[in-house]
């Protein structure tokens, strides 16, 4: 059987794969522990998951210290600074989500062990995503991170809203996957390869053709769904509202970040030559996303829905640099990565506060925040900082993220970029209008029915708050911290 003999064992760089393997091991461990000890293991589960996530950071650190760029399978799977930065980001966000989950999942009627298993699986998908430079890898990573997420959204089994959230997320996700896959098939058809580098060469060299346009468009739409860009955002508010709050935070931050990462790799590696499609597409989508997200957010009364729309709008901001992807690629990547990093912390922080407050008020209505400053000044100040960060007001971290956008736009220059800049500016203003509604409730209103019982902040939530708060403020005051990561991400992603 000469065919068999022809098979050469692929050379695997185990160091490069160490983070994925560690994560996999932890996931497996949790499953095993669950099987063996069953309910008695519940207490240890979050700790295990959290420690596992932190442990996964170790190989990432060693790889970062090592510093060499590792590429496998002809560039299909790459471990470079860009991927390391984002892997770390996913893991840390995951860790914060685990912290948020501890009490929430324990107190609710949830399947606890499986919850963490699925979350780790999803994180594994994200971690893989940031290294994937191949259509198949991207596709599989996407599904790996999405499918557990669909189920997590429906995790509150007894709750109709949660079920519905899961269904909507699932269906929309699958629709988008289908479109994306169709697009991938067309791209594959034109180039004959699944490898991004090859695709870039093939697509970039040929004359413009409708199939290429269609293929690129459909692929991008698939991920636009993932980052909940308008008009593919519709699932997000409903799912966010219905899903368990830590899952919502996970979706709003980690899942969205994964989508962004995929977009970065597609746009800046595979489709960079096709700026005639990519740039207008993102110009349109980002403008729409920001504006629609912000406008609808103005009318929300539920805090989670508000944060959902806010998240959509934030996603729109993140898409802005893609509109100048080819004109200022380095700045654009930098801007997205920086935005992602800062967004992760500020948004997680906001959700943590929501979680903490909901433990007392049992309500998601914005009105229930009335008088928070009176009876829980710490939480109110924390929320204020997070919202200020989201609105982009120094010295809270968000300003630097917005700054990055403007920087990318102006580096690219030109009327379209400037116009988009103005749209961003206007949207910044609209955005504050609804953040301010929360602020007003917290600060300006007396507590409903004079109920001024303080809120008990559990250890885990406190830890989550501390992490996010410190990071948010640190990024605002010393943006160099996060800026550095943005900078190193650029070099390798562009193959430099």
């Amino acid at each position: 059987m000469d065919v068999l003999l022809a098979f050469t064992r692929p050379s695997l760089d185990w160091h490069a794969l160490a983070p994925e393997l560690t994560l996999l091991a932890v996931g497996t461990l949790i499953t095993l522990v669950d099987i063996i000890w069953d309910d008695r293991s519940k207490r240890a589960m979050p700790t295990l998951a959290g420690m596992g996530l932190l442990a996964t950071l170790i190989p990432i650190l060693t790889l970062a210290v090592d510093g060499t760029e590792r590429s496998m399978f002809g560039g299909a799977y790459v471990v470079d600074d860009f991927s390391l930065v984002l892997k770390a980001l996913f893991l840390i966000s995951g860790y914060v989500v685990v912290l948020m989950s501890v009490d929430y999942i324990r107190d609710g009627d949830y399947y606890e062990n499986e919850y963490y298993t699925l979350m780790l699986t999803s994180l594994l998908g994200m971690v893989m995503m940031s290294s994937s430079r191949d259509l198949i890898s991207v596709f599989v990573a996407l599904e790996l991170l999405s499918i557990p997420a669909y189920m997590l959204a429906a995790w509150r089994k007894g709750g109709s809203r949660s079920n519905e959230a899961g269904l909507k997320y699932y269906l929309m996700g699958v629709f988008a996957s289908a479109v994306m896959l169709y697009g991938m098939s067309l791209v594959y058809g034109l180039t004959g390869s699944t490898n991004f580098d090859t695709i870039a060469q093939e697509l970039g060299s040929g004359p413009s053709n409708s199939i290429a346009i269609l293929g690129i468009l459909f692929v991008l739409i698939g991920f636009a769904f993932k980052v909940s860009a308008v008009p593919f955002h519709t699932w997000a508010p409903d799912t966010y509202e219905g899903a368990p709050t830590p899952v919502t935070a996970f979706l709003a931050v980690a899942s969205k970040a994964a989508g962004m990462v995929a977009l970065i790799q597609l746009v800046f590696v595979a489709f960079l030559g096709r700026d005639d499609v990519v740039q207008p597409f993102f110009w349109l989508i980002s403008a729409l996303t920001m504006t629609v997200g912000n406008l609808i957010a103005l009318r929300q009364t539920n805090i989670v829905r508000l944060l959902a729309y806010s998240g959509i709008a934030q996603g729109g901001f993140m898409l802005v640099p893609f509109a100048v992807a080819a004109d200022a690629p380095a700045r654009a990547i930098e801007a997205v990565v920086i935005y992602l990093a800062i967004y992760a912390f500020m948004n997680l922080g906001a959700f943590t506060v929501v979680l903490a407050v909901a433990r007392k008020t049992r309500s998601g209505e914005i009105d229930s925040y009335a008088g928070l400053f009176q009876y829980a000044p710490g939480l109110a100040v924390a929320m204020t900082i997070f919202l200020a960060a989201l609105a982009g007001i120094p010295p809270a971290g968000g300003w630097f993220a917005k700054f990055g956008l403007f920087r990318a736009l102006l580096d690219a220059g030109g009327g379209w970029a400037a116009a988009l800049g103005v749209i961003v500016a206007v949207n910044t203003v609209i955005a504050f209008a609804y953040y301010a509604r929360v602020l007003m409730q917290m600060w300006f209103q007396p507590a409903a029915e004079g109920d001024e019982q303080p809120i008990v902040v559990t250890g885990a939530i406190g830890a989550a708050l501390t992490v996010t708060l410190l990071a948010t403020m640190a990024f605002g005051v010393l943006p160099g911290l996060v800026g550095h990561f943005g900078e190193v991400s650029v070099l390798s992603a562009l193959g430099g």
Partner: protein, 99 residues
């Protein structure tokens, strides 16, 4: 044989799938229609693999099939869950959250 024979078949199948997911009210029917779309993709992948003389098309198609299987499983689980809570699988009923 023309390349387009297959591709257009795929495109038609995809469109029919789109119609199915958008028009059918029964949750299980929606899931079935999804399969149409995914299969349309598979046709494309296989045909293009042949056209370019590479094997990756088939491999891609296999991955799609595998993922599709997982998706169907998950999808059905969710539909069942809903059915249990709401005794309905009519997707038009599920609009508790809106706005």
């Amino acid at each position: 044989m023309l390349l387009n024979q297959f591709l257009i078949l795929g495109a038609l199948l995809f469109s029919v799938g789109v119609y199915g997911v958008l028009a059918r009210r029964n949750g299980v029917m929606v899931l079935m229609s999804i399969e149409l779309m995914l299969n349309a993709v598979n046709i494309n992948l296989v045909v293009f693999g042949v056209q370019h003389g590479v094997v990756s098309g088939q491999v891609f198609a296999l991955f799609v099939i595998a993922v599709a299987a997982a998706e169907v499983g998950v999808g059905l689980a969710i539909v069942l869950l809903l059915y249990r809570n709401r005794t309905s699988i009519d997707v038009e009923d599920f609009d508790l959250m809106r706005g």
